[in-house]
Amino acid sequence: MKKVFHVMYDDDEKLLVAARELVSKGIHVNEVYSPFPIHGIDPVIGIKRTRLAITSFMYAMSGLSLAVFFMWYTMISDWPMNIGGKPSFSLLENLPAFIPVSFEFSVFCAAHGMVITYLLRNGTLPGMPATNPDPRTTDDKFVMEITTDTNSMNAQDLESEIKKTDIFELSIKDLKES
């Protein structure tokens, strides 16, 4: 039977030390649940830097081009108007007046696009069920999830290795087949 270990620590540094120790013994840590970001955990358990910032830049560029195109279409191509004699005959002439809206719209698209991507990638959306193994992990406890199916060690060896670290609590459950 496949097992899942939920190893609880009462301090972020204890978890970090323990994770380093276990990983150095070739144990794979599936997931870490914590109430706040633990700085330095990502490289230890093999999490790469997110590419969210790149998406934000792409959303900003799309917003910028959309805004400039739209202003060119309405103000210059579709229905040019003489408003106080301001230049309205070519995009270049009129461009200074278009800067504020271009900027605002780029920021608008960058921020909202990025947040939507973030929520979708996380799978955190309104009404989604919580998946943290213990309610205390959003308060002051830190949980590491280790499963037997991603590790070559058997359950007994894993358990004894885990118990060597400074744990607070350990729960072992059967892994549900998904």
Binding site: E13, E31, V32, Y33, S34, P35, F36, P37, H39, I41, I45, I47, R49, T50, L52, A53, S56, A60, F70, T74, M75, D78, W79, M81, I83, K86, S88, N94, A97, P100, V101, F103, E104, F105, V107, F108, A110, A111, H112, M114, V115, Y118, R121, N122, G123, T124, L125, P126, G127, M128, P129, A130, T131, N132, P135, R136, T137, T138, D139, D140
Partner: protein
């Protein structure tokens, strides 16, 4: 772990643990509402209802119920708009600019300051809306395809820039605030026991579980949002100032307006944060998290921005004389010696002279003095906008069309009403939302908490 100099004052007082932080912030949410809160929300909702009544009267009767006339076509409405937008500048400045500068003291105040920002911007948005007269045609400000020929909006107009600036600012501030709230809602969700509350916080927490990868994305998202929100903060009030600066009215047509408005906005925003937080920290027993050092930091921001505003006032006076333009110099002489001189001198006293008291460390660190001065600053900043708008308009180029503005009961009612709506929203926020960014605070406990600092000294 990041170390911090032991000489620096701790940001979290007392011997707190991670659990204490959760307990202290969640306690007012799970516990029953206090009597003080009930009294305050009753009063503020009555005031809010009076304001809503005044707005309905205005919409059903017409703009004529305001004290406007053909000379002074803009007065309290736009004064209130600019005032509220200005107040709405502190929240995003605190959470975005101070995040970029890695100022840890922001964490105690950013949540409530951002909530205040959002409510202030909502109040600001009321005024251009009701000022249109026919509010049911408000959608005309958006560039929508329509049946009236190709009647597009005018992208050359600063008033339209304002539409984009305010709506972007509002929506970006809102998501920035909410993204930070999600993990804290999850903490409350896992804490409350009442089924209805658990369900509600469960929905609002979006199923947040605190996975390492999610936190990794969270930090990147906060940083990038802070990066793009920073220029946004500066752009919004610059654009608001261009509503005036791009016109040809003496007293408005000045190039100094954008930086002068932005610093004035930060100035009044921080003053409002002080007013609200000094009460909130006491009422919710958060003195260990928002203490004298935080107040002092904010007072330093107030004195810097207040001094910039003071320099801007003097520069305006000097340039109007030095330019040699008669109309320009008349506009300013009329400001300080004309029929509205009382408003001008109130503005000068409240904005330029009184904040200078913060140079004294005793006053800067005194909570009572800060509370009084923060209200004085907000009064002064309201008068600043009033002075800029009304005194510039009431003396036209043609003496035959000179006029004066006298506010009516509806003017006053709507302004007081927005204060009521704002306070009602803020009080509701303090009751049901985590007023401190509790999970962010846990990250600085070990570097800036008092007990951890004491250990460092040993």
């Amino acid at each position: 772990m990041q170390k911090e100099s032991a000489i620096r004052e701790p940001l979290i007082l007392g011997h707190k643990t991670y659990k204490d932080i959760t307990d202290d912030v969640v306690r007012p949410i799970v516990g029953p509402a206090s009597l003080g809160w009930k009294i305050m929300i009753t009063i503020s909702s009555i005031v809010a209802l009076y304001g809503i009544g005044s707005i309905l009267y205005l919409i059903s009767t017409g703009i004529g119920v305001w004290g406007l006339n053909k000379t002074v076509g803009w007065a309290w409405d736009i004064t209130n708009f600019v005032w509220w937008v200005g107040i709405g500048h502190a929240g995003t400045l605190i959470s975005a600019v101070l995040l970029l500068f890695r100022q840890k003291w922001r964490m105690a105040i950013n949540r409530s300051a951002e909530a205040m920002t959002i409510f202030a911007v909502i109040m600001a948005a009321v005024f251009p809306g009701i000022h249109m007269g026919r509010i049911w045609l408000a959608y005309y400000v958006f560039p929508l395809p329509n049946q009236f020929g190709s009647l597009w909006v005018n992208f050359n107009s600063p008033l339209l820039w304002d539409v984009f600036a305010i709506s972007t600012y509002f929506s970006v501030s809102l998501v920035f605030w909410y993204v930070g709230l999600i993990p804290d809602f999850a903490t409350i969700r896992d804490r409350v026991t009442k089924p209805f509350a658990k369900k509600m916080y469960g929905i609002m927490s979006f199923g947040w579980s605190g996975r390492a990868k999610h936190w990794n994305r969270f930090e990147e998202l906060s940083l990038v949002l802070a990066g793009i929100a920073t220029p946004l903060v500066f752009s919004v009030h610059s654009i608001v100032s261009m509503d005036f600066a791009t016109s040809v009215i003496p007293g408005w047509h000045t190039t100094i307006f954008p930086p002068y408005f932005v610093s004035g906005a930060v100035f009044s925003g921080f003053a409002m944060v002080q007013t609200l937080l000094l009460v909130m920290r006491k009422a919710y027993k958060l003195e260990d998290y928002i203490h004298v050092k935080h107040v002092e930091y904010m007072n330093i921001v107030i004195i810097v921005t207040g001094s910039i505003v003071g320099v801007a006032y003097l520069t305006e006076l000097f340039i109007s004389w030095y330019s040699g333009v008669e109309y320009e110099s008349y506009a300013f002489i009329n400001r300080f010696s004309g029929p509205y001189k009382a408003a001008y001198w109130t503005m000068m006293t409240c904005n330029v002279i009184s904040p200078q008291l913060f140079w004294f460390k005793k006053i800067r660190r005194s909570l009572v003095a800060t509370f009084i001065l923060s209200i004085v600053v907000n009064i002064g900043m309201w008068f600043e906008r009033y002075v800029i708008i009304v005194t510039s308009l009431h003396r036209d180029y043609l003496p035959s069309s000179w006029g004066e503005f006298i506010p009516t009961a509806t003017d006053v009612g709507i302004f007081i009403g927005t204060l009521g709506i704002f306070l009602t929203l803020f009080l509701a926020f303090t009751r049901f939302f985590p007023v401190l960014a509790l999970n962010e605070l846990k990250t600085i406990l070990k570097s800036s908490g008092e007990s951890y600092k004491n250990e460092q000294v040993k």
